[in-house]
Each structure stands twice: as structure tokens, then as C-alpha cells.
């Protein structure tokens, strides 16, 4: 017996170690799933503890590496690589001016949208508080799209909170540790989010793939779904607030594995492979946050001032009246008796008819006799038209 164990010692140790891990896997798989995606199982207490220890062991070194890289880049970008800075500054100023004008234009639409939402008792969720965090590491595997950020539960972060950048959705928090947290990227195979196609308003579920692509695979073929359409979060997954940009449709192809569904590939708005800083959404509210309210008020004031200036200019310049009442008075509607031609139902699209002459003279329409009645040498006598016959304009 002793010789058996000594002879097969190596193989037995291997079998024992592998068997122990297989049992451990079986125990972990029995844990309930978490979140929106059934493929993502939650960790048990002991497993979560083990993961916390491993992350805690690696995080200080990741912080050190990240800090060193940041300092080197800061020296390079802040002191050495300052070429074209003035031109960039000027270009940015121009962009700010242009964006202010655009903001003023959008403010009116936004205010109208809010009024309509209030009328419909629609509960819109606005992002009220965020925590900015820096990405300090990854999972190190292209099969697991996980990022490590430098903020954790000490900043109020909790699992399942959405993570975004100003460009768009990034993912959600998976495990949160005291001083760090794991972000599960939206293009991980176990990730998923409820989305809506911006123009067609078709709802779907976007999932990641092992190749790191974002795909919607639960939609039937629809001729309205075309490349270039923007995809935003629908808010239906109870993780992301509504309206966060996710990406743009890159291709629409039949899914050979799941007929008759289509495989819609989406190009993410956020650069998921080169993330430096992210925002974790820690709170939403049904009203606009104070800073956004101030911005909206300022934009509305700018829009009102621009409209007033435009009205003043319009008063000084000759122009067609917008409505038939202003043109013909309230008791003279623009109908077939006063206009000629034009499109039905659209005021001022035809030409106005000639009004009856009050004091006719030789220049009045119809005062001059026809040419075949005139005689050479005879004196021209003005004729009083017996009845006004307006000149018809061919349509």
C-alpha cells in the first residue's frame, strides 16, 4: 500500500487538487444569480472574502503603477508637449461659444419636453449625484472584461450602481471593496442592459460577447433598423437611468444561430478599452439637480433674449404676415374668395385677389377699352367699368 502511494504520489496529488477545485466550483455555481443577467452568479460569503483579499493584495501595486504613470504623463503633457496649445485653446473657445448657442436652442425644446412630461405625469429620472473614479487596473484577461477603480465603499459606492463617462455607458459595479471596486464592462459576456433605439423607439437588450462586441440579439428583422442609429439606455433594467448613450448601430445581420432574430452590432460611444476616468452614478432624482436647473434657466434666458432680438429685427424688415388674420383682419378669413391658387389648408400659400376699386381712374384695371375697339386718331375716353371684374391669375 505504501509503495502504491509513493509510486503514484504525483498523480494522486494532482487528482486531489483538481477534485477539490471541482467541488469548489460546484458549490459556487449553486449560488443565486444576481442583477439583470442570468449568466452572472453572485459570490458566496467565503468566495467574496477571498476575492476581497486578492484585490486588496493587488490594489496597492496598481495604485502605485497608476500614480507613477500619471505623474510621467503629467510632466510630459504639462511641461514638454505644449505645442499647438494656443490654437487648441482658441478652437475650444469657439466650440464653447457654438455650444452655448446650441444649448440655448435646445433649452426651449427641453422646457417643452418637461412640461409635456409633467402633463403626462411621466417620472423622469435625472442623475443627481456621481462619484468620479480613476481606473487603476484590469482583470488581466480578455475573457473577463473587468476594471478596477480607485474608489470603494468609503465613497458610498455599492454593487449594481451604473458607471458612465461623458461619452456614454461603461458598465456597472460588481464587487465593491472598502477602497476599490470592480466594474463589469458592458461588453463582458455576462453583462446586459435594457436599451432603446433612439429614432425608431424599438426596445431591446444589449449584451457583450467574448470578442468584446456589443450586440442586440432579441429583435426580429425590421427594415427601420439601420446602421447609424443611436442606441440609448431604456431604464428598464433598473440599473442605468433612461437616456444614457450606449452606442451607434454598426451592422444589422441575420443571426444564423438564432433564426429568425437579427444580430445588431453596436459600436460603443465610450472607448471601453482605454478608460482613464469614469463616473459612478450614486443617486438619481425625479427633479433636475440644482446645477442643471441653473444651467437650464440661463439657457432659457439666453434663448428668450435671442428671440426678442429676432422679433425686433423682424419688425423693422418688411415681410409676409404669418397668419391670415393679421393680413386680412379677423373678419376676412383667407379663403377661396380672397386668394388664388395655393395649397389647401395652408394660409398664404396662394396669391391674393385684387380688391375692388373705390375711386376708378384711367389707370384702374378694366378702364382702358380693348385694343380692337380703339380707332386710330380718336380721343381716348376713360370708361367707367360697370362692374369690377378682378383679373384672374392663371393657376
Amino acid at each position: 500500500m505504501e509503495s502504491f502511494f509513493s509510486r503514484f504520489k504525483n498523480s494522486l496529488v494532482l487528482i486531489a487538487i483538481v477534485l477539490a477545485q471541482v467541488i469548489a466550483l460546484a458549490v459556487q455555481v449553486q449560488q443565486p444569480t444576481r442583477g439583470f443577467n442570468p449568466g452572472e452568479a453572485s459570490d458566496g460569503h467565503h468566495v467574496a472574502l477571498l476575492r476581497r483579499w486578492i484585490t486588496a493584495a493587488v490594489t496597492p501595486f496598481e495604485r502605485l503603477a497608476h500614480g507613477t504613470g500619471l505623474r510621467v504623463r503629467s510632466v510630459w503633457s504639462g511641461y514638454i508637449d505644449l505645442r499647438h496649445t494656443r490654437q487648441q485653446n482658441q478652437a475650444l473657445r469657439n466650440d464653447v461659444a457654438r455650444l452655448r448657442e446650441e444649448q440655448a436652442a435646445f433649452a426651449e425644446d427641453a422646457a417643452q419636453g418637461r412640461r409635456l412630461q409633467a402633463l403626462l405625469a411621466f417620472k423622469q429620472q435625472y442623475i443627481s449625484s456621481t462619484v468620479a473614479a480613476q481606473v487603476i487596473g484590469t482583470s488581466g484577461s480578455d475573457r473577463s472584461r473587468i476594471l478596477i477603480i480607485d474608489k470603494g465603499s468609503d465613497y458610498g459606492l455599492k454593487p449594481e450602481q451604473p458607471v458612465i463617462t461623458p461619452d456614454g455607458a461603461v458598465g456597472k459595479l460588481r464587487d465593491v471593496f472598502p477602497h476599490s471596486a470592480q466594474v463589469l464592462l458592458i461588453n463582458d459576456p455576462t453583462s446586459g442592459a435594457g436599451v432603446i433605439l433612439a429614432s425608431t423607439r424599438i426596445r431591446g437588450i444589449v449584451r457583450g460577447s467574448t470578442e468584446g462586441l456589443l450586440q442586440i440579439k432579441n429583435l426580429m428583422p425590421d427594415s427601420r433598423i439601420l446602421p447609424g442609429e443611436q442606441v440609448v439606455t431604456s431604464g428598464g433594467d433598473m440599473v442605468f437611468p433612461r437616456g444614457v448613450p450606449v452606442g451607434v448601430i454598426e451592422s444589422v445581420k441575420p443571426d444564423p444561430q438564432h433564426q429568425p432574430y437579427t444580430a445588431i452590432t453596436i459600436k460603443p460611444m465610450a472607448n471601453l478599452s482605454r478608460l482613464e476616468e469614469v463616473l459612478v452614478i450614486t443617486g438619481t432624482s425625479s427633479t433636475l439637480p440644482p446645477a442643471a436647473q441653473q444651467d437650464a434657466a440661463a439657457a432659457e434666458a439666453t434663448a428668450a433674449a435671442a428671440q426678442k432680438a429676432a422679433d425686433l429685427n423682424a419688425e423693422k424688415l418688411p415681410s409676409l404676415h404669418d397668419d391670415p388674420e393679421a393680413a386680412f383682419g379677423p373678419d376676412k378669413p383667407a379663403d377661396a374668395e380672397t386668394t388664388v391658387g395655393g395649397l389647401p389648408g395652408i394660409p398664404n400659400s396662394g396669391l391674393p385677389k385684387v380688391k375692388p376699386v373705390v375711386h376708378p381712374d384711367k389707370y384702374s384695371p378694366g378702364a382702358t377699352p380693348p385694343a380692337d375697339e380703339l380707332k386710330p386718331g380718336a380721343a381716348a375716353t376713360p370708361q367707367t367699368p360697370p362692374e369690377h371684374k378682378p383679373q384672374e391669375t392663371p393657376q
Binding site: 504520489k9 504525483n10 496529488v13 494532482l14 487538487i17 483538481v18 477545485q21 471541482v22 469548489a24 466550483l25 459556487q28 455555481v29 449568466g39 452572472e40 452568479a41 468566495v47 477571498l50 476575492r51 483579499w53 486578492i54 484585490t55 493587488v58 501595486f61 496598481e62 503603477a65 497608476h66 504613470g69 481606473v135 487603476i136 487596473g137 484590469t138 482583470s139 488581466g140 484577461s141 480578455d142 475573457r143 473577463s144 473587468i146 476594471l147 478596477i148 460588481r174 470592480q182 463589469l184 463582458d188 459576456p189 455576462t190 467574448t210 478599452s273 482605454r274
Partner: protein, 174 residues
């Protein structure tokens, strides 16, 4: 007349490492694997912990040590991902065992042998991960991408050669 020694070839070729090197070298590999893809995303295709597993298993030529080293490195890797604990642990444990067993039969000082060893064990690691996901975890969405795995094996082989030479400097004959 040929010289005879009481020391067998197996004992002659077995190497040991300072405990600090044994602990720190795999840790540095895991850390680099976690940090480098942040700056260079295409480096995520590499598997530096796998290279460390193969190196220590081959250098020690002890299947038990190779299995234990591979398992610990794999479990540490699992802790940084969203995989279950044991996925990489099982795969790298088996790779460590096989690498140590091959170390007996093959001259692993030869560069060509090292390249072939890392290339084939990298493919084996990918195959084991596929089997674990499909058979043990019933994850049918886990794809088999032969071309991607071939590229990964080639990349690991290319990186392994300078890394092996670097780690050779820390080994001591037992």
C-alpha cells in the same frame, strides 16, 4: 576514463529559488498582467502567469511543486476576474504538472524546446479552459476560437524566451 558521480542527472538538473523569488516573480507577473492591458489593450492576449507557471514547474522538475504553483497562480488570477474560483486554478494546475513531467524528458535549456513547450502548453491551457467552461460549468456561450488561441500561443512563446532568461538568473542549483 569516464568520471562517475553519485549524483543522478535528475538531481543535477533540479533548480531551486530563493523564497522571495518564488513568491514575488508570479506576483509580479500577475500584477503586470493586470496593469499592462490598461495602457496597451492588445496585451490582454498574453498570459504572463501561465509563463511563470511553466517556468517554475520546468525548473524545479517536481510535478507536485508544479501542480501547487500552477493552482495557486490560477486561483489568484480567478480572484481578479469575474470567473468562479477554480477555472484557472484547475487549468494551470494541470499545466504545471505536465510541464514538470516534460522537464524530466526534454532539455529545457534549449531555446527551440522552450518555444515549443510554451506554445503547446498555452494551447493546452486554452483547451482546458474551454472544457471546464463547457463541461463543468455548462457555459455553452463560451466560444472555441482556434485562430485567437493560436495567436495567443505564439505571443506567449515570443514573450516567454526573454522572460525565461531573466528568471534563469534567480535560480540556484539544489
Amino acid at each position: 576514463m569516464a568520471e562517475h558521480s553519485y549524483t543522478s542527472r535528475r538531481e543535477l538538473d533540479q533548480y531551486g529559488f530563493h523564497p522571495a523569488v518564488t513568491l514575488l516573480a508570479p506576483l509580479v507577473c500577475i500584477l503586470l498582467q493586470a496593469v499592462l492591458p490598461k495602457m496597451f489593450p492588445w496585451l490582454a492576449i498574453l498570459d504572463l502567469p501561465l509563463i511563470a507557471t511553466i517556468f517554475f514547474a520546468v525548473a524545479r522538475r517536481s510535478p507536485i511543486a508544479g501542480t501547487v504553483t500552477g493552482t495557486l497562480i490560477g486561483l489568484f488570477q480567478d480572484g481578479l476576474t469575474n470567473h468562479h474560483f477554480g477555472v484557472n486554478g484547475i487549468a494551470k494546475g494541470i499545466v504545471g504538472y505536465i510541464a514538470a513531467s516534460i522537464g524530466f524528458a526534454v532539455d529545457v535549456e534549449n531555446v527551440l524546446n522552450r518555444i515549443l513547450l510554451v506554445f503547446s502548453l498555452s494551447l493546452l491551457d486554452s483547451g482546458l479552459l474551454y472544457l471546464i467552461e463547457h463541461w463543468l460549468l455548462a457555459n455553452m456561450t463560451y466560444p472555441l476560437e482556434p485562430l485567437h488561441e493560436l495567436i495567443r500561443a505564439v505571443a506567449n512563446s515570443v514573450i516567454a524566451i526573454p522572460l525565461f532568461y531573466l528568471l534563469d538568473r534567480f535560480r540556484t542549483r539544489e
